[in-house]
């Protein structure tokens, strides 16, 4: 366990990049959000992986954005 907080700092800085990458994937995020919101309507039932497709699209867009900032940024 590091006493100087190196691990925590590293993980937290990774987490800080999330909003930027999420902003780059606005369309996929909106699609996933709409899918989940639709299940909250009366008659809908939210189960595990109900919106798996939309989430996969979001996750791959997110990973692509991460790669772009990694290679392009630093």
């Amino acid at each position: 366990m590091s006493g100087n907080g190196a691990v925590w700092g590293r993980v937290r800085s990774r987490l800080r990049a999330f909003p930027e990458r999420l902003a780059a994937c606005g369309a996929e995020a909106a699609a996933y959000g709409r899918c989940v919101q639709a299940s909250t309507a009366p008659g809908g039932r939210l189960r595990k992986d109900l919106c798996a497709q939309e989430f996969e699209a979001l996750r791959s867009c997110f990973a692509a954005a991460a790669k772009k900032t990694l290679t392009g940024g630093r």
Partner: protein
């Protein structure tokens, strides 16, 4: 209210139980005072108070604590407004769970003679905000106030009672340390606080993981608050609610601010880990379901303000049954009745 991931922070391992008491102008008072009434059988243990102290200490040690103070400053100033509304001076006042002292900075020497500020986090007391009132900082837990009976004219508490395990007992303690005809003015987070965050996490966790666990701490309902205050012995209760909506760029910024405020989750039943996938899903759901026109997301903070008085003979009491001298039916002739009454006085 929210724990992001289970990462051991920089202050690990935690200080040993018998850490030396440094003389920094703080008085660490033993909390072994006999409390009014025995330890209640209804005592719950929902929150890890030790962890909450560590979280508040961590938050107070951040490089820019002012960045996260906006909510507490606002509520502190509204409580100070209510103190000014009471047409009285208070020679001795107590702030329970003061943080960095957000209420004291808005009050003046004429209204409050001396201010005792207590908190469980010593770092918060070390960074106390400037105020013209002479203050004494005391390290104390909200449930174990180390003061004698009938000490204070005024007790205030701003946004710290929602982390107390035994709220009835804490309110009884406050009632105990108040002088007769003393007043307690408090503010607590209410049931609708952060409902957007709660719902988003719930939906995302259900979709991603098949079930969900609570990430937002439970809040007291406004009806329960009235009962609790009554049971603690307060009279002439007033409870009103206020909603503050703060806009954030996204869910991650909200969670970071909550942690910076020292409001991270410390309930015993919290899940230690929040998956990155779930966080991403929740942020997407939050943005889609609650987004404003300009793309920011709102977070609602519902605040309950409560005012309760300790009984004193001089306080107005409801009249005896059957002591009415006029009936409601004569309300139309109220002007005549009043001039009659003045003549007879």
């Amino acid at each position: 209210m929210l724990r992001l991931t289970r990462l051991l922070p920089w202050w690990w391992p935690p200080p040993a139980a018998a850490f030396p008491v440094k003389n920094l102008g703080l008085r660490k008072v033993a909390s072994g005072v006999s409390s009014p009434g025995s330890a209640s059988p209804r005592a719950l243990n929902i929150f890890d108070r030790d962890l909450k102290r560590k979280q508040k200490n961590w938050a107070a040690r951040q490089p820019e604590p002012m960045k996260f103070d906006y909510l507490k400053e606002e509520v502190g100033s509204r409580i100070a407004d209510r103190v000014y509304d009471v047409a009285r001076d208070f020679p001795l006042a107590l702030d329970v769970g003061c943080g960095r002292g957000y209420i004291a900075q808005h009050l003046n020497k004429e209204t409050v003679g001396k201010f005792f500020q207590t908190d469980i986090a010593e770092n918060a007391l070390k960074n106390i905000l400037e105020t013209e009132i002479p203050t004494v900082s005391v390290l104390a837990d909200e449930e174990f106030l180390p003061f004698r009976e009938n000490t204070f004219d005024l007790v205030v508490s701003s946004l710290s009672l929602h982390w107390v395990n035994d709220l009835p007992r804490a309110l009884e303690q406050i009632h105990y340390v108040l002088k007769p005809d003393g007043v307690f003015i408090g503010a607590m987070f209410g049931g609708d606080t952060l409902y957007e965050l709660r719902c988003s996490l719930q939906l995302a966790e259900t979709e991603r993981e098949g079930g969900f666990s609570p990430h937002i701490s439970p809040f007291t309902a406004v009806s329960d608050l009235g009962h609790l205050l009554g049971r603690a012995g307060f009279t002439t209760l007033t409870v009103d609610t206020d909603e503050i909506q703060v806009n954030y760029p996204g869910m991650f910024e909200l969670m970071e601010d909550l942690q910076g405020m020292g409001e991270s989750n410390c309930a015993w039943n919290r899940k230690a880990l929040l998956h990155r996938d779930t966080m991403l899903a929740a942020a997407a759901v939050y943005g889609e379901m609650y987004r404003n026109e300009d793309g920011s997301v709102p977070a609602t903070y519902q605040i309950y303000y409560m005012i309760g008085w300790k009984y004193h003979d001089s306080q107005a009491r409801p009249a005896e049954r059957g002591s009415a001298t006029v009936s409601f039916g004569e309300l139309g002739k109220i002007n005549d009745l009043m001039s009659q009454g003045k003549k007879s006085q």
